[in-house]
Amino acid sequence: MNLTLKIWRQSGPKDKGAMKTYPIQGVEADMSFLEMMDMLNEQLVGKGEEPVVFDHDCREGICGSCSMYINGEAHGPGRGITTCQLHMRSFNDGDTIYIEPWRAKAFPVIKDLMVDRSSFDRVIAAGGYVSVNTSGNTLDANAIPIPKEDADKAFDAATCIGCGACVATCKNSSAMLFVSAKVSQLALLPQGQVEAADRVLNMVHQMDLEGFGSCTNTGACEVECPKGISLENIARMNREFLTAAVSAD
């Protein structure tokens, strides 16, 4: 199929950037979206032009790096998938496809479609961990009984791949879905209890410092999240935060 691509080109963090139009021919339906981008880049290199810079790594929906805002949606049309799992059969011959980087103050553009998501790393560093004894007498995690329901919910929260689609989609660029998944996966387990109050206060504090907006419960994040992280986690984080805020001294 033949397509018209409208892609955000920005030579560096300081450049203003603009949308540029690229016609592309011979795209096949069973190509992944990233393979289509590779094809475009080969053509650009062949013509002596700068290839389009985009993030990618695993190409199987687990690393969360392939951030692209495609036709007005994070990771494009389709539910429960990342850009690398999107296939060109989702498009028709003659389509125009808009491809933009994640847009958020907390995710500044590095180049073209690649953004700096280290704000997520700093939120994790603020409390998204459990401290364990590693001096040779580490407790076997399986030695502590955990209700199946809690284990399942913690596991669901832990499937968040930190892709940032929630932020990109949210009209407020809020990171609540991501942060709440990271708070929940630990808050639901006994190992996470010791640091629970500090964790939620510190992670939310860091989230606010990074310049993410605040949640207005539109629910867009849950719809666009490739891992189906539930809004239930945001409510849990609000509960955790409010109890920690009134009990902290």
Binding site: K6, G72, E73, E100, G213, S214, N217
Partner: protein
């Protein structure tokens, strides 16, 4: 741990204030509506009953205290809501060239500040016409010696030139309120951390009924007065 300086200004606490003031305003809507329904009565005692209610609402001490809390809540909710909206817009300095938000969220949920602003303009004009009249205006007294707000209301909506725009303004504003509540009611519970497999669907249904029934009942009153 020592609470971070940011705890009380955190994005979550800011939203809790929106939720608490919003739910308080919802409870006020119910009380206000119950009184106003007297306006739909067409029997002989309707006018005096309504005036007595209006008198009670402006003089009874407990209600007076609550009303100050209410004025404060409306102002706070409006100013805080607009400030949040401004802050949220700053979180995305460069807009998408092409965006398709209706693929993943409801119109009302994205337009809360617009809907709220319509409601605010409405509240201001509404208070100017009736609340200010009742408190500071010189209104003739009815047979029981209460200010005859009933007649003021009737004449307002039946006014030969303002009657139609006034009625329209009320109907449009109530539509805005309906959308505001359709998202807001259930959203307030989510903000407070109430999200439950069993109870959330119930809250959503109650919110849907509330967001249609209350504004509709309010809107029927001016239309009924205008038509009769």
């Amino acid at each position: 741990m020592s609470a971070k300086s940011g705890v009380f200004s955190s994005s979550i606490v800011r939203k809790v204030w929106m939720s608490l003031t919003g739910l308080f305003l919802c409870s006020f809507l119910v009380v206000h509506l119950l009184g106003n329904l007297t306006l739909l009565r067409s029997d002989a005692g309707a006018a005096e009953a309504f005036n007595a209610y209006a008198h009670f609402m402006t003089t009874f001490p407990l209600i007076k205290i609550t009303s100050y809390l209410l004025y404060f809540s409306i102002l706070f909710h409006a100013v805080w809501g607009i400030m949040l909206e401004i802050k949220n817009r700053k979180a995305r300095p460069v807009a998408y060239a092409y965006n398709n938000p209706s693929a993943n969220s409801s119109w009302a949920s994205r337009k809360m500040s617009l809907l709220g602003t319509i409601i605010l303009v409405f509240i201001a004009t509404h208070m100017y016409h009736f609340w200010a009249q009742m408190h500071f205006g010189t209104i003739p007294l009815d047979a029981s010696g209460n200010k005859d707000l009933y007649t003021v209301v009737m004449e307002f909506f039946r006014h030969p030139s303002f009657g139609i725009p006034a009625t329209l303004l009320y109907v449009v504003s109530m539509a805005a309120l309906a959308f505001h509540l359709h998202h807001g009611f259930q959203s307030a519970f989510q903000t407070l951390g109430v999200n439950h497999r069993k109870y959330t669907p119930i809250i959503e249904k109650v919110g849907l009924v509330f967001s249609i029934a209350i504004p509709l009942a309010f809107a029927i009153i001016p239309v009924y007065i205008f038509l009769t």
